[in-house]
């Protein structure tokens, strides 16, 4: 939620597009860096064949009265360009109304065509959307690597410098206030604008003027901008006394497993005896990453079952080489926090953990998205289309996809946690208020999180030899 992660330089606060989906694979040779776009994306062979085939074959498929979409679109596009009197557009000097923009019309046509599929996950990405989404998938950006926020008095504060970033190497500390960027005062400026000023091409320099509580006056720090991995994992020893560790994962991008491993290793090095794994508000991400990550928790067998277009079911199994610690042996108890915004890849991982008994789930019913999308880059215009290509089922072959009755009312879907614990709007508001009063005090914020507190309590009880009746809670819920 916004209050907890807002102000990332890296990730837009309100994420869009890609994050709503689980992605099977990207048919793209260079996902890591879509910006070095000189490469031509590899086009699947089937598609090449399709493109080369005479489209007359297409027309023959349909009956005569039908409208082949591509030809119809071309005909209408031509008419719009040659005949449309562009009412809204201001006329040019010679009273000529400009013809409507072909690219815009084309994108609208594609959106409209895909809308008839009635599947919100099959969607077209404009070049800009594609670039933005790929940046989120790769988890990289160019900048100094600091997480920013606004204080109550509307000053720009550094919440946290990101590990391995220019900011942390320059000695920037949490709580530093930014006064100016490259000598330009930023008082009263929008946060996005400040971020824009700080960002720039890789290798160039930026100078921040900072204020720090311990120092009088302001001081300058100059940094060279570099590629930074957005932090998507947050971790801490939640309960240092009982050695209960906490790891949260924001999305399943290409940095997820590596960042998770680092966090896990550090907590285990501190003698962790129980783990809270937070997948709340995690909208999903890459399918192979979900498989890899679940392999850290589950001993063997299927992680997820995937059903192809042709009806074939196949499983994606635990990868033994992804057992990074003894976590998979069940040496310490695990509770996974989930909620209604835990979707797709989050549901695969939490489903595998629940089905295999590797841990318990706590929170509220998950989102309910049992669909896998594939991203197909298009060779014309750097755009892409994301298509739902597979259905998936959990390790025990539960279909968790949302279902609706005739009145469009949802009648199922999602995973029911072992322990149902609500997080109310009131809890959210209280947390937000605490955060705004003191962005640095994470403890105060965490104390106001009923789901986390309940998980801590259950784990403490468990470590002390007591048990909490999970089944009873679940029965009460259903």
């Amino acid at each position: 939620m916004r209050s907890l992660i807002k102000g990332f330089v890296a990730v837009s606060i309100v994420s869009t597009g890609f994050l709503c989906g689980l992605t099977g694979d990207v048919l793209h040779g260079f996902v890591q860096n879509p910006h070095t776009g000189a490469l031509i994306p590899t086009v699947p062979a089937a598609r090449v064949a399709r493109l080369l085939a005479p489209a007359a074959a297409h027309a023959a498929d349909g009956d005569d009265a039908g409208l082949p979409p591509a030809d119809t679109y071309v005909s209408v596009l031509n008419i719009l360009q040659s005949d449309y009197y562009n009412v809204g557009a201001p006329a040019t000097a010679k009273a000529v109304k400009p013809a409507p923009d072909t690219t815009r019309l084309t994108y609208a046509a594609i959106d409209g065509m895909l809308a008839t599929l009635n599947d919100r996950y099959t969607e077209f990405w404009t070049p800009k959307e594609y670039r933005d989404n790929m940046q989120e998938t790769s988890g990289n950006f160019v900048g100094i690597g600091a997480q920013l926020d606004l204080t109550k008095t509307k000053q720009v504060i550094i919440i946290k410098p990101i590990e391995n970033s220019p900011a942390i190497r320059a000695g920037i500390l949490p709580g530093d206030i930014i006064v100016a960027v490259d000598g330009r005062a930023i008082t009263g400026m929008d946060l996005t604008k400040v971020v824009e000023l700080i960002r720039g091409p890789e290798g160039t320099s930026v100078r921040l003027t900072l204020q720090r509580k311990a120092k009088t006056g302001s001081f300058d720090v100059t940094m060279r901008r570099a590629v930074v991995h957005s932090p998507i994992v947050d971790y801490r020893m939640e309960d240092p006394v009982n050695k209960i560790g906490y790891i949260s994962l924001q999305m399943f991008n290409e940095q997820a497993d590596q960042q998770f491993d680092e966090a896990l290793a550090r907590l285990e090095a501190q003698g962790m005896k129980a783990l809270v794994f937070d997948l709340r508000n995690n909208p999903g991400g890459l399918l192979n990453i979900a498989q890899d990550l679940a392999s850290r928790f589950v001993d063997s067998g299927a992680i997820v079952w995937v059903k192809q277009k042709n009806g074939e079911m196949s499983s994606l199994d635990v990868k033994p080489d992804k057992h990074r610690s003894s976590l998979y042996k069940g040496v310490y108890p695990v509770i996974v926090l989930v909620n209604g915004n835990s979707a797709s890849a989050s549901e695969i991982v939490s489903g595998a953990i629940q089905d295999s008994g590797a841990g318990k789930l706590l929170g509220t019913q998950t989102f309910g998205k049992g669909l896998v999308q594939t991203i197909f880059p298009l060779d014309s215009g750097d755009s892409a289309v994301k298509i739902t290509t597979q259905h998936y089922f959990t390790r025990n072959k539960h279909d968790i996809n949302k279902k609706y009755d005739a009145n469009n009312k949802q009648i199922g879907g999602g995973i029911t946690p072992d322990y149902v614990v609500e997080f109310t709007d009131k809890d959210f508001d209280a947390q937000k208020e605490a955060l705004r009063n003191d962005p640095q005090n994470r403890d105060a914020v965490n104390k106001l999180d009923p789901q986390l507190q309940k998980a801590d309590q259950i784990l403490r009880d468990q470590l002390a030899g007591k048990t909490t009746p999970a089944v009873a809670q679940q029965a009460a819920k259903s």
């Binding site: 399709r50 409208l67 082949p68 719009l80 040659s82 009197y85 040019t92 946060l191 289309v385 597979q390």
Partner: protein
């Protein structure tokens, strides 16, 4: 239809050079899926006008010659008008059609091929993008896809909606059938001709409203007292959504995201109210469509009437009516014949001609009050009955080119003193007819200021029975009067709006007796009006 379609495609292909080659291959040389049937135009008739503004050799668009029109008028009786009728009575202005180009040169307009050359590279990439997406979902989408026609409809609907022009819209086959019937004078629903107009708001967006142009005689709308210029604000208790209620919420959201978290509560409130508005509202087009269909359904409307502060609520029951385009009667004192033209359907000219043939009076009153217009061609033909070979209107097309439209070449009846009656319900091609007769000097236009709508729309047909309406130009009078910009045509002799029917006709008869005196008396107003017109028309 097929012939026309094929011609259309071939013609277009010629203009597009290389691109057409690949397209022809793909299409198997078959059929274009869109034929440009024109609102309100006898298709064959259109050829004449098409020549006027499509032949590149002609440096200036020419007024169609008498021969052109003779040829086409006789052809108008031929089956070509099957299409034309579709649009005929569709209550919008029409323009010459594109489907009937039986000479490829007609489509090889210099203007559009230049455009194609400039954009061909980008356009080709766009087309490939569309095809790739279609092919990819065919190959990879996990569930069953909708059929091709449904997907094509989705594409066109969205493409046309993206123009953000509420008078350009897609029509599924059912809706298309309704419009076809309207073009023949057969109305369902409340029986009112409506139009959508945008009003720019100071906040930087456009608020659209549904305006009543006219209630059709005998319709539910007429019985309920709907008047030209009324705005329909609610249908069955639902808001007619004329703008995006989320616009304001989005602005607030940008503010809190970037700058001021204190506005979050304001945003939540605004968002909630926008959501309620959307849930409790009905879209412009769907409201308009609801009102033009159904027999025996009950609707509650809320109306905003200019000059009336309180909203007016009316309840009506939809019905089907077939409006007679023309009715004839004698004026009370018997000196003039009143020919009332209710609609400009393609039956109207013949009816007017018959009426004129049987006339026993010296003077004629052509009553265009409460006439929402219709096709261009019927209007041209009616003009020709009174003023042969005179200019009818000037159409400004998308490329800024002005095309002159002439009165058709129908045999004119012997000249008679003529008065044209207009009022606030005189709209579109009816306005064009009134103004052109006035400018030709054959009639005195009397009455109230007209509705003020000069947009030309064309109805295009797709071969599965669906179609789309497109704004394709704007009509000006032969002298360049932009009556839309002026908010209507000011008659040469003004009549008080509250005048009784007897007073109106008495005035008409007195003008018929002494036309020059009447106009001279009204001269000061007329002159200043003309001055304003000249300024407006040639900026």
């Amino acid at each position: 239809m097929t012939t026309n379609d094929r011609e259309h495609r071939t013609g277009r292909g010629a203009a597009e050079g290389v691109r057409s080659e690949s397209r022809r291959k793909r299409g198997g040389g078959a059929i274009a899926f869109v034929s440009g049937v024109t609102v309100a135009t006898a298709a064959a008739m259109a050829v004449g006008a098409q020549v006027a503004h499509r032949v590149p050799a002609a440096a200036t668009p020419i007024v169609s010659t008498a021969e052109n029109f003779t040829g086409t008028v006789s052809a108008a009786a031929a089956p070509a008008s099957a299409n034309a009728q579709v649009a005929q009575a569709t209550p919008v202005n029409g323009r010459p059609g594109r489907s009937s180009a039986n000479d490829p040169i007609l489509d090889a307009s210099a203007g559009s091929s230049a455009l194609d050359d400039d954009e061909s590279l980008g356009t080709t990439a766009d087309k490939r993008t569309f095809e790739s997406v279609y092919d990819l979902v065919q190959d990879h989408y996990v569930d069953t896809l909708p059929n091709d026609t449904k997907m094509a409809h989705g594409a066109i609907r969205s493409m046309i909606a993206s123009l953000a022009d509420p008078n350009s819209f897609f029509l599924d086959p059912d809706q298309r059938a309704l419009l076809d019937d309207e073009s023949k004078g057969k109305y369902q629903g409340i029986g009112a001709v409506t139009t959508i107009r945008g009003i720019k708001q100071p906040e930087g967006y456009t608020e659209y409203k549904i305006f009543v142009v006219d209630a059709i005689p005998g319709s539910a709308a007429e019985k309920a007292g709907l008047k030209p210029g009324d705005v329909i604000t609610h249908v069955d208790g639902k808001w007619v959504l004329g703008s995006d209620p989320f616009l304001k919420a989005n602005k607030l959201f940008d503010k809190i995201r970037d700058h001021d978290p204190d506005d979050e509560d304001a945003f939540r409130k605004e968002y909630e109210s926008a959501r309620k508005r959307v849930l409790g509202g009905v879209g412009l087009q769907s409201a308009q469509m609801q009102l033009r269909k159904g027999i025996g359904d009950k609707h509650d409307l809320t109306i905003q009437r200019p000059g009336v502060a309180a909203p007016i609520k009316v309840a009506l029951t939809t019905s089907q009516i077939e409006a007679e385009p023309v009715s004839v009667r004698r004026a009370p004192d018997g000196k003039a014949t009143v020919i009332k033209v209710n609609l400009l359907t393609d039956k109207a000219p013949a009816a007017v001609k018959t009426a004129l043939a049987g006339i026993r009076t010296r003077g004629v009153v052509l009553d265009l009050r409460n006439n929402p217009g219709g096709g261009i061609v019927p209007a041209q033909q009616i003009e020709a009955l009174f003023a042969q070979n005179r200019a009818f209107a000037v159409e400004i097309g998308h490329n800024g080119k002005k095309s002159k439209l002439a009165a058709s070449s129908a045999t004119a009846t012997p000249p008679r003193p003529l008065v044209v009656l207009v009022d606030k319900g005189t709209a579109r091609t009816a306005e064009a007819l009134a103004q052109s007769l006035g400018e030709a000097g054959v009639a005195t236009v009397i009455g109230g200021r007209t509705f003020g709508d000069g947009m030309a729309h064309t109805l295009y047909s797709l071969r599965d029975g669906s179609g789309f309406m497109l704004t394709t130009g704007k009509l000006l009078s032969p002298r360049g009067l932009d009556w839309q910009a002026l908010g209507g045509i000011t008659p040469q002799v003004a009549l008080a709006s509250g005048a009784s029917e007897e007073e109106v006709l008495a005035k008409a008869e007195s003008v018929l007796e002494h036309p020059t005196q009447a106009v001279a008396a009204a001269a000061p107003a007329a002159t200043s009006h003309t001055g304003a017109v000249a300024g407006a028309a040639r900026p």
